[in-house]
Symmetry: C2
Subunit: 472 residues, 2 copies
Amino acid sequence: MNNDSSSRIVERLSAWIAGAAPGARLPSTRSLVAEFHASPVTVQKALQTLTARGLVESRPGVGTFVRAVRTARPADYGWQTAALRASQGPRRTAVTALRDAPNHVIAFHSGYPDRELLPERLVRTALARAARSDAAISRPPASGLPELQTWFAQVLAATTPAGIAPPTPADVVVLPGSQSGLSSIFRALPGNGQPVLMESPTYWGAILAAAQVGVPVVPVPSGPDGPDPGELARAFEESGSRLFYAQPNYANPTGAQWSADRRREILDVARQYGAFIVEDDWAHDFGITTSPVPLAGMDDSGHVVYLRSLTKSVSPAVRVAAVIARGPARERLQADRAAESMYVSGLLQAAALDVVTQPGWQAHLRSLRHQLQSRRDFLVASLREHAPEVHITRVPDGGLNLWVRLPDAVDPVRLGADCEREGVMIAAGAEWFPAEPAGPYLRLNYAGPNPAGFGEGARIIGRCMSTQLTGR
Amino acid sequence: MNNDSSSRIVERLSAWIAGAAPGARLPSTRSLVAEFHASPVTVQKALQTLTARGLVESRPGVGTFVRAVRTARPADYGWQTAALRASQGPRRTAVTALRDAPNHVIAFHSGYPDRELLPERLVRTALARAARSDAAISRPPASGLPELQTWFAQVLAATTPAGIAPPTPADVVVLPGSQSGLSSIFRALPGNGQPVLMESPTYWGAILAAAQVGVPVVPVPSGPDGPDPGELARAFEESGSRLFYAQPNYANPTGAQWSADRRREILDVARQYGAFIVEDDWAHDFGITTSPVPLAGMDDSGHVVYLRSLTKSVSPAVRVAAVIARGPARERLQADRAAESMYVSGLLQAAALDVVTQPGWQAHLRSLRHQLQSRRDFLVASLREHAPEVHITRVPDGGLNLWVRLPDAVDPVRLGADCEREGVMIAAGAEWFPAEPAGPYLRLNYAGPNPAGFGEGARIIGRCMSTQLTGR
């Protein structure tokens, strides 16, 4: 209600300002309070909004005034072309997974879970508690809050069998999100000029981070069971790379989860080539019919650099992740993080730790598992019914995505445009391939808003596809 | 009180755990509640602390157990040496300004303002409000919350004279702290292989960011009045650089504020060489006897890339800053930020905007000005009284630091060690020089805790210095 009356004042004053001369003085707060029958706080809020919109400016102790709109000649920045030279970094590309969707749209394109899948109450309580704590006003150590380092280490240690030394809190570097971790890893770990091996297809954010850093990417084909160890060995051999980026659990986009044998084989190949495996355990909290088993739990020789994020499962506002690494690699990563961003907001760290150590967090994860399962199953069933030409490569045991192969004759980009016109957003598979796509694929995310619309969404995908296939 | 009883339980249970066998089961929450006469919440908190310390593990629905401490052979990570090759990035160096100080120490070394100089009440209220808002649970646009972009643009626009096109919200990219901005600027803006010019001495974080990115730094001497335009022109000419990093207001460490003439001359040189000036307006909120005048307000041709942070003046937990740039440079920076960290926590952005748009923020800045003035003046007077050999190069009109020249015979590093043994932490000037230090300098920060100790601190500096000078 407070919000409503503030918006009403903003609206009425904006109209008044539109007709006023620059520099004209607004009525005093007191007279606005009287005029709008609103509280001083509400009036103040409205004035702040007008200030933020650039319509008025306030001079403390004097009053609030209509801002003069200044016009000036538009500039040409051509001179910058000479200073900047050719671009070396990544081009600004519109990534489908980051696009916002209007409310009425059926959204299969995003990589982020919908709000209804987040532990909203835990997050709000934790943030409010952190706002009252010391973390709101102090600077944490560069490696992270010690209690949070401990938590990250312990969760991984819990998967470490006897005989393998578990990671310690000192192995943990807290990050402002896993994307920052990827950038640091690709900056700090490849020796001079060495390329990075990546599963293909793989997470577009990793491909982007490597491009930003200027590290060449060598794709290693990967399918529903993960990469083939022989192909991986050949890629290490041919490329001289010492770094393999992979997602052993519920890989994005394929949904692959490596078997125990596959995990052992891949780790053996990395050992043989003296190489790192960057394990991006992005879906650690998104198991459905299995549980994630970190590869890093099998290794205490520093071969696996483990990346774990809380942003997706806790809240997009709680940008907290961690990298766990041992030996000199950990030092390189720590140095890179310190130079890049010094430290991560202690408030976000405290809130993240609070959320994941509440009893409600385990309850949330259990309920999330069921929700993801029914969303996944409904999407699979809807596609089988309404878009039978779509080949589901694997019904994933966890994660947020279904990776589907289209018939060869279907152009995924055109399909995306056709579907969008009918209110369905999908992501063409090409964005997940470090090189050319190996075929026409789609990634369908089943964690978006409004799962009740999945049936209708599948129907529209099926219809748009058969229009392409039949030419009408 | 709640805290106290929780600590008491932690202490008692830790003692019990020390004597218990691995896997032993802790008493139930109910019996702990009875035994310690504490609430279930307090007992739960104590168990969480024990879990975070790695002493116990809880199996939901079963109970809490003493963790087995596993021992395993220590690993050697020598194989990593081959994979990592020689280090290209910055070495992990212990930066003096980031060192924590024990409570009783007189701290002149830090770069961060003490808690008493922060708008603590505004920060806590804003964070609590943000925790209840949409920002706690949603993902903001990659460039930042539009209202915050607007605010950053308007503050700079307010300093833009008529005839110069003011920056617009679309020119603003919100950052997770200014250090990230420096990294992005040094990655994205220098053409292939071009060096960066920097004032010398200058902010160590900028030197570090350039080292991380692998951009060579060319120092341009700068003093109490800022850099000499002729030297700057020569440096552009000789180096082929197109980027000059500078702090025109209350430079860190020298405290220099460029005169209006100096600003015009420097901008003319940059125009002549088709170059960018990166204006790090770090001390925008720290004016004392003058107000900061951004160089960026004089430029609408995209030459000045403007960096403004709220971390230091709002709270270390609110890691929010912005870069304002126009033309292709802005696109390059936006692309780099997206690849590096995708977006900045919307919660921190909402809280930052809330703080700086409250009426209390202006009142806070006025009070801050007085506090900084009396701290600065007391330190200056104390040094003049107790350490007269210290030459104060300039009493700064703003900022947080006093830059002092020591007699040639004094070794600043030894002085630092001697002072620290007597409970005073200082920072030797060498960390602020991109190349060799131009002389024995100290940076003394007057924004640290316990300003009442400044007199004693100056006395100790004076004493340690004369021990060095007289050899006893």
